[in-house]
Amino acid sequence: MRPTFLGFETCKRGLATNQKVLDIVGQNLTNWDTPGYTRQRIDIVSVSLNSSASRYAVQRTDLAGQGVDMAGVSQIRDPYLDRRFRAEYGDAAYQSQANTILGDLEAALREDGLNGTDGGGIQVALSDLFSACSKYAENPADEALANLVGVAAKNVTQTLRELSSKLDGVEEQTKYDMEISVKDYNDKLQKLAQLNKAIRDDVAATARNEYYGPNELLDQRNLLLDELSSYTDTDIKEEKDGTVTVKVNGHTVLAGEKADEINLRENNDGTVTMSWNSTGKEMNSTTGSLKAYGDFVNGAGPNMSSKGETLERGIRYYRGKLDTLARTFATAMNQVVPAQVDAQGNPVRNPDGSIAGYKVLFGARVPKEGAPGEYTTTIDFPIDASNIAISDDWVSDPTFVMFQKGNGDPTYAFDMRNLLNGEDASIDFISNGEKFTGSFQSYVNDYCNTLAADVNYYTSRAKATATIADEMLDRRDEVSAVNQDEETQSMMIYNKAYQAISRVLTTMDEALDVLINRTGMVGR
């Protein structure tokens, strides 16, 4: 037999369910643009009586029509799309960071746009020296023209030192950014560990399950996992207790409340190493911006010579290129102007015909022994872009470059000029693993082109991977984000349902009123 107030209970559940649906519609509409928000849904079930749950046989007809109930508030999310998005996001972050570092290098080493002979780059300084040598070749006995060569040569060394200093700046800034990124990564891991704990406690306390968790906490964690995936590769596994375990290239960095942090260390040779706090082993991510930092700060390209360096053409590669330029420039220029002249105005030669000795025009600028704050130039110290300078002899005598005062022989002026920009110049620029043969101008052209091609490649890759990551984000949003029309439709539907159930309740009340107040009243 049907219980008298069964319909009221049905209506009560219906009203409560529809009210809750309207609450969640409001929640979705207000959070449509909240970062990390996943749309929620009330899972509605029809209440059915299952006789197997009762100790007695139940007449189903009597208890039918008990209405609706809420199974829980779920999030609409697809773990596969999360995984795909995070993989692409890591890749995009790697390409983007690589592009940023190389872009900084290009800005530091850039010539004046596409005009190789104006502005303040090394190409311009070399062109000015070429021009000065050309003028000097017109009258090598002219001391004023020889002086111009000295001024232009000094500008070349100053430009090289400036570029070296700019590279120092790029390296310093990149390492600083890297430090901040590592700190942010570690902070995020700690937050994730705290969220793991909060979620696990919530799940345990409220007996929620994998479908109905603490949604807002899950959103926060998912957002952090997204952000984490921009730093390294992330292999995420959801555990039964509600926590997530995160691995980076096989190494567990987050398990329950335990997070392993990254330590960043600068080595004596200037390379940087990222290692795990727990094991001390090197952090070997396969993608992400932290990998890009490591690859391009330590990147020595084919000139890799130490364990800490990488094969990417990064800061160390281009610094090496500049140092090779400075060293080779000094060495070649120090083999041009003969140091001794015979009575006929010709260079003194050895018995085998070779020149007996050359004037030292360039050297390394080093602190003067026993004279604090003073510097001297020497060839007994390795010359690089940071220390190259014109020799002390040249500083004290602006005409030092002259083969012989009063001698109009232009041979040496032509020789210097040819080294700078000769069509057939064959100077060997030797780095640890690379060798380039040509003039100084062609060498600078070559490494500028290599850098430009690298920037071009990583710009294209960054765009392509960002497009894929955006596409994955769209696909994920197709599932998880809020659609205003959809929510408005739900609002209308459940509002109607609420009104309808209220009407049912009124009807039932009227029915009971008939039963209670008007039944058996015949003859009164």
Partner: protein, 344 residues
């Protein structure tokens, strides 16, 4: 496909930003007149433009050198013309006429004239272009030609009549040992006319350069022939001495005529040198034209590679403007309307 408000908003902003970026890029191309600013934006074209620019710079440097050399050659040409001019009367029979035995006054007059001409020749031989001696080879520290106490003309302090030339250059022989002694500071001077002067072991590859120097030895002559000096100065000294000889008879006249014949040969050589100078100037003029034409071509190549096509770009800018405005209008409609707007 489920279109969500968040992705619609994000993608709209991305599209709006892209279109704004294209408009901004187009404006940059218009204002800077450059298709791109960084080499990394178009490596292949950018590199070709840089190479063109560097080549232009190199050619302009060569043109400056040629201009200077032409000035030098033209000055040398003027000096030679002056030398030839002062010797015109001598070459047109003054010596022959004065050589006659019966005209002692005329001989004295011509001899005095020769003395003046010799001084002029010495001045011309030490002629300068700016601070540079024109006929000094590589010696620019002091006047190359001087006259010693015996009245002989010397080149870098060595009597010119003692100087000879072989494949290795100018030299003199030691009086006692006969050893070959090179003449100091008399290497040739060369100019780069666009072939790039090659230098090997401090020696210029002469095939790659254009010789601009004029050795005074070549022009004025050096060494001796049949006991007569080849250089015009000493030769004129000998003629002067022969004209002043006392007593002056048939033998002396014969000697003057022998020296006169030698003088006429050297005069012809000077005329040849002047012609040679003229042809060198002509060659440099043609080279200048060729290099200037190359600069024009390279400028055009560079322009095509990096310069903005203003007509094309102004049309593109209008398109970007239109698209940007359309995107803004779309946004106004896109976000204004939703189902909520139609609820009663």
């Amino acid at each position: 496909m489920r279109v969500t408000t968040r992705s619609m908003s994000r993608n709209y902003l991305k599209t709006l930003n892209n279109n704004l970026g294209k408009r901004s890029e187009s404006m940059r191309r218009m204002t800077t007149k450059m298709k791109y600013e960084n080499l990394s934006e178009n490596v292949a074209d950018g590199y070709r433009a840089i190479r063109a620019d560097q080549r232009i710079f190199k050619i302009e440097s060569q043109l400056s050198g040629i201009e200077n050399a032409m000035g030098e050659l033209e000055t040398a040409d003027q000096v030679l013309q002056d030398v030839l001019e002062v010797m015109t009367d001598l070459a047109q029979g003054d010596i022959e006429r004065a050589a006659n035995v019966g005209e002692p006054e005329k001989r004295q007059t011509v001899a005095n004239n020769i003395k003046i001409i010799k001084d002029q020749i010495l001045q011309f031989a030490n002629g300068k272009y700016g601070d540079k001696y024109l006929f000094s080879g590589t010696n620019n520290g002091s006047a190359p030609f001087t006259v010693d106490k015996d009245g002989q003309i010397c080149y870098n302090s060595i009597p010119v009549k003692d100087i000879q030339k072989d494949a290795d250059g100018y030299f003199r022989k030691d009086v006692n040992t006969g050893e070959r002694i090179p003449i100091p500071w008399d290497k040739d001077v060369y100019l780069d006319i666009g072939q790039g002067v090659k230098v090997e072991e401090s020696h210029i590859d002469t095939a790659t350069a254009f010789k601009i120097s004029f050795s005074g030895l070549e022009i004025l002559g050096m060494g001796e022939t049949d006991g007569m000096p080849n250089n015009i100065y000493d030769l004129l000294s000998d003629i002067e001495d022969a004209l002043r000889a006392e007593p002056y008879g048939a033998e002396e006249q014969k000697e003057v005529m022998r020296l006169h014949d030698q003088f006429m040969e050297r005069h012809s050589a000077l005329l040849m040198s002047e012609t040679d100078l003229g042809s060198r100037v002509n060659f440099l003029e043609r080279t200048t034209d060729r290099l200037k034409s190359e600069v024009d071509t390279l400028e055009s190549v560079k322009k095509n590679l990096v310069a903005t096509d203003m007509e094309e770009e102004s049309v593109a800018l209008q398109e970007h403007e239109a698209v940007w405005k359309a995107t803004l209008a779309l946004g106004a409609n896109l976000f204004q309307q939703s189902l909520i707007d139609f609820l009663r």
